[in-house]
């Protein structure tokens, strides 16, 4: 599994619906519509891989694929970067 961290040029701002992420490099705004997803994004750099981050955030097995898809979209949007 891939390990991620927050892109160094991204700012995160908590909102009632989750959070907003703004990328100062490509100047794109991304909406994170889920409080658990926000917790994962904030802590993902502390874990050796994305599965460990999901487990630590208490993601139920049934929701795992949906969260992995959300993480993949955030990676594509350069909110998250893959790390070795």
């Amino acid at each position: 599994m891939t390990a991620y961290s927050l892109h160094p040029q991204v700012g995160l701002r908590d909102e009632r619906f989750g959070a907003l992420a703004y990328h100062y490099g490509n100047r794109r705004l991304t909406f994170l519509n889920d409080a658990r997803l926000v917790r994962i994004v904030r802590s993902v750099a502390e874990y050796d891989d994305v599965d460990a981050a999901l487990a630590a955030a208490g993601v139920p097995a049934a929701d795992r694929l949906a969260y992995l898809a959300a993480i993949a979209r955030l990676h594509q949007a350069e909110v998250l970067v893959a790390r070795d």
Partner: protein, 368 residues
Amino acid sequence: MTDRLARGLDAPICLTWELTYGCNLACVHCLSSSGRRDPDELTTKELFAVVDELAEMQVFYVNIGGGEPTLRPDFWDLLDYCVAGKVGVKFSTNGSRITPAAAQRIASTDYVDVQISLDGADAATNDAIRGDGSYAMAVAAMEHLAAAGMREFKVSVVVTRENVGQLDDFLALAGRYGAQLRLTRLRPSGRGADVWDRLHLTGEQQRRLYTWLVERPQVLTGDSFFHLSALGEPLPGLNLCGAGRIVCLIDPVGDVYACPFVLHEQFKAGSVRDDGGFAAVWRTSELFTSLREPNSPGACASCGSYDACRGGCMAAKFFTGLPLDGPDPECVHGHGEAALLQASSSRPLVDAGHSHRGGVFVPLTRRT
């Protein structure tokens, strides 16, 4: 998601901050009727205090404009102060002060972006709106930015009846300098009220613009044309009026308005000089609280397109004398036209604001 945003955020996503009413141009459609500086404009110290507050509220970036913001002697200091506080800046300029050295400075940080205003793809079309010499001024600025290695700066065009035929030329022009094209809607705000009748798009032009935009999602619009989404699939963007919900305006004297296009007493929420500063205005002002209530579709309730266009632009309705809970004057189904015929006598009176007295143009000079 749109409903959540319509209820408002703890801080704006997109804040426009006009630093001065002073301008060395006198564009016929200026939304803030700029020309002369106001003696009561925020001091440097007050500007910095606003930046501190924006940083505290985690406002990611501000859209700085004017007037011509670079005419303020403290403009570049303010830019540095924003960058130091991690508040990103995108500023709008006519290009007159974008020297090669200024361009280098802009290109040196990711936290600063710039948009050059241009309202014609050739000098004749542009200068008829923005004044003699203004096309050459903008092009020189673009050359300096490109030479400094600034990538993806913006070329910002207010679409009018006169320039809507040049969209492909604008795109090619921006492309030549590695810039992105940004199109926005002509509003009957400020001096725009005087020219709106003759410069706003015809119905046919609106339909062509919509198709052109759908085919070119890379063209930025700042969500300006969401009323056109009633023509078919929605345009990219949030497609809602963000006034007081996700956007607002701070004017040069520190007054806070619901959006950049409603500089009128009725849409003033407070001042950054009030107790509690900008945050209190944003979070608790009566006006912004009421704008975040679900709004009634009013006369548009029976129209099948309301979910797509949401009744259009508040500023366009207000300054053409239309009720705020009815159709946009440029409603794509033509519902605005009948309303306009009845409303022509109820347009709000707007004074000349800070326009140059007697319409005198300040000579265009460029620092080298």
